[in-house]
């Protein structure tokens, strides 16, 4: 336990130092407003990727409507701050609760079944949410919800991204996370070993949905304008790409996937005219190339941690196996 404490303190110190450094660079104008914008988007995308990875990588359920839960969180929290004048943090927490509740409503009937039914169901849910919002005049219907105040600053994003990472890490390294992984690999065996498979899957799904909704709240109070179309299937696919590219089942992989795929299209702007014109094309080709040469994602299902880095190379190799696919 003492060793854990010591390691924990070192980690906290590193995180605080990084934060102070970044804050200093922003204040001095070394990190410009444009870069700060990218950093905030990266933070939101990391939380989204982490939350979807918990569902796909750990409970082994394919979810294709993650943006819908983000929409729930975005709209609910925006209603609380703009219409009901609630402070920012309670509002996004309430948004997350609403997202978790929506996850519960879908997961409760569907996750009892063995198989990939969740994929179809979340796909449908995504469409339902979009169409529903388009028809609710109270939140601006198809015109979108405007007049949201700017609350999401670099400080909040930094704090919540770190907290989200810690939360996911602690869930997956607990008995609950092990149960989820066991169920994803062999549901019948897991049940025979005393794991309530339905409960394990539902728990992972609810936490994932609530976190996506939380990210949605951050997103709404950063862009100050949200509309139903920004939470459509394309957005869900984008989040899925972070997870698949980073490595399904790897928490650090999700972070890597979200960072690379958010920064890459922006970074390509900095090159010559040719690359600038075709940057989205280059971006897509890079994804295709990566998937051909590393179908298991950047990290496979390995984890990057201080421990693994310090250990000699070969233990790192033995420990991480390659995962073949989603199922």
């Amino acid at each position: 336990m003492q060793k854990n404490m010591k390691k924990g303190i070192i980690k906290i110190v590193i995180v605080v130092l990084v934060f102070i450094l970044a804050k200093f660079l922003i204040r001095e104008g070394i990190i410009g407003a444009y870069t700060e914008r990218i950093i905030i988007t990266v933070g939101i995308n990391i939380i989204l990727a982490l939350s979807l990875n918990l569902i796909i990588g750990y409970t082994g359920q394919l979810a294709l409507g993650h943006a819908a839960f983000m929409a729930v969180g975005a709209y609910v929290s925006a209603i609380f701050t703009t219409k009901l004048n609630l402070p920012f943090v309670p509002a996004i927490i309430l948004g997350a609760v609403a997202g978790g509740a929506a996850g519960f409503l879908i997961g409760w009937p569907i996750l009892r079944l063995k198989g990939d039914y969740l994929a179809i169901c979340t796909l449908g849910f995504g469409e339902i949410v979009k169409v529903l919002i388009q028809n609710i005049e109270y939140v601006g219907a198809a015109r979108g919800f405007s007049g949201i105040k700017l609350f999401t600053t670099f400080g909040w994003i930094f704090l919540f991204t770190v907290l989200a990472y810690i939360l996911i890490k602690r869930v997956v390294n607990s008995v609950y996370g092990r149960d989820m992984r066991a169920v994803s690999q062999d549901e019948i065996a897991a049940e025979a070993m005393g794991v309530n498979a339905f409960r394990a899957k539902l728990l992972g799904f609810i936490i994932g949905c609530a976190m996506a909704a939380f990210a949605g709240g951050l997103y709404a109070h950063y862009l100050m304008f949200i509309d139903p179309v920004s939470f459509d299937f394309n957005k869900s696919t984008e989040i899925l790409t972070f997870v698949v590219l980073g490595g399904i089942g790897s928490t650090s992989g999700s972070v890597a996937g979200a960072v690379i795929l958010t920064v890459l299209p922006e970074a390509l702007r900095g090159f010559g005219d040719f690359i600038k014109t075709y940057r989205m094309l280059i971006y897509s080709i890079m994804i295709v190339i990566l998937m051909i040469f590393r179908p298991q994602g950047i990290m496979g299902n390995r984890e990057l941690s201080l421990q693994n880095l310090m250990k000699k190379g070969n233990t790192f190799n033995i420990k991480g196996g390659e995962k073949d696919g989603i199922a």
Binding site: A182, Q185, A192, G194
Partner: protein, 254 residues
């Protein structure tokens, strides 16, 4: 009182009676065999005992209470565990995590404990880790603890599956054809190993097996099943000389 008491158990799949009028009694620290030709209904009996199938007739009393109608994980919580005919490990998890998952049946903490890393979290994780280390050592897997389960050799996978089942702290362990795919030497080692488990953990074992030598060698009592019905029961000696059993296995003399 017997640990397991099965009375008049039966199951029907559509028009087919897969198992009919099955009965069995297992006492403390006994090693019982269940044999029969292919398709006799042995695994179906296992599946009914562990709640995978819900029997259409009969009653199962385990450790003093009825377990008919319970789900699989509830049966496991009541201290009955099983292995599978075709090995079902968590292939992409490490050997030690395979066992650790089973430990949480007995020792758990809340999600709040897990997120805030409370004292209870450390205490339970520590206890589970000790239990895992103990089992790994007993099963000779300690230097393979960090390997993925799928990378183990076949014999080790079989042993890991038994270790994982034992981590749920069963009073009755059901082994479904543990010798499947093993050569005669490995089967012989397995026989010694099963007997050792029974004595070391002081549990009862119900063994399904095709390999006659293994069953006859170690079981105290044997039940023979054919076409879903019990055709004989008794000590290995009685079974060996039972004409009905011989007929079921090798046919009638003309």
């Amino acid at each position: 009182m017997a640990l397991l008491e099965v009375k008049d158990l039966g199951i029907q799949f559509g028009g087919l009676k897969a198992v009919d009028g099955f009965h069995m009694e297992i006492g403390d620290n006994e090693l019982i065999g269940l044999i029969g030709p292919n398709g006799a209904g042995k695994t179906t009996v296992f599946n009914m005992l562990t709640g995978v199938y819900q029997p259409t007739d009969g009653e199962i009393l385990f450790d003093g209470s009825s377990i008919s109608g319970l789900t699989t994980y509830e049966v496991t919580k009541k201290h009955m565990a099983r292995t599978f005919q075709n090995i079902r490990l968590y292939k992409e998890m490490s050997v030690s995590d395979n066992i650790k998952t089973s430990c949480s049946v007995r020792r758990k903490y809340s999600l709040i404990d897990a997120i805030f890393h409370t004292g209870k979290y450390y205490k339970v994780e520590q206890e589970n880790e000790e239990q895992v280390q103990k089992l790994l050592k007993m099963f000779g897997l300690e230097d393979k603890a960090d390997l993925l389960a799928k990378n183990l050799p076949y014999g080790d996978q079989r042993r890991l599956e038994i270790a994982r089942a034992l981590a749920t702290e069963p009073k009755l362990l059901l082994l479904d054809e543990p010798a499947a795919g093993m050569n005669p030497q490995e089967t012989e080692d397995l026989a010694v190993f099963i007997k050792w488990i029974k004595d070391e953990f002081k549990i009862s074992i119900l063994l399904i097996e095709h390999d006659m030598k293994l069953v006859m060698g170690i079981c105290e009592k044997i039940t023979v099943l054919n076409f879903g019905k019990i055709i004989a029961e008794g000590t290995p000696k009685e079974i060996q000389n039972n004409p009905q059993v011989i007929e079921a296995y090798i046919g009638r003399k003309k």
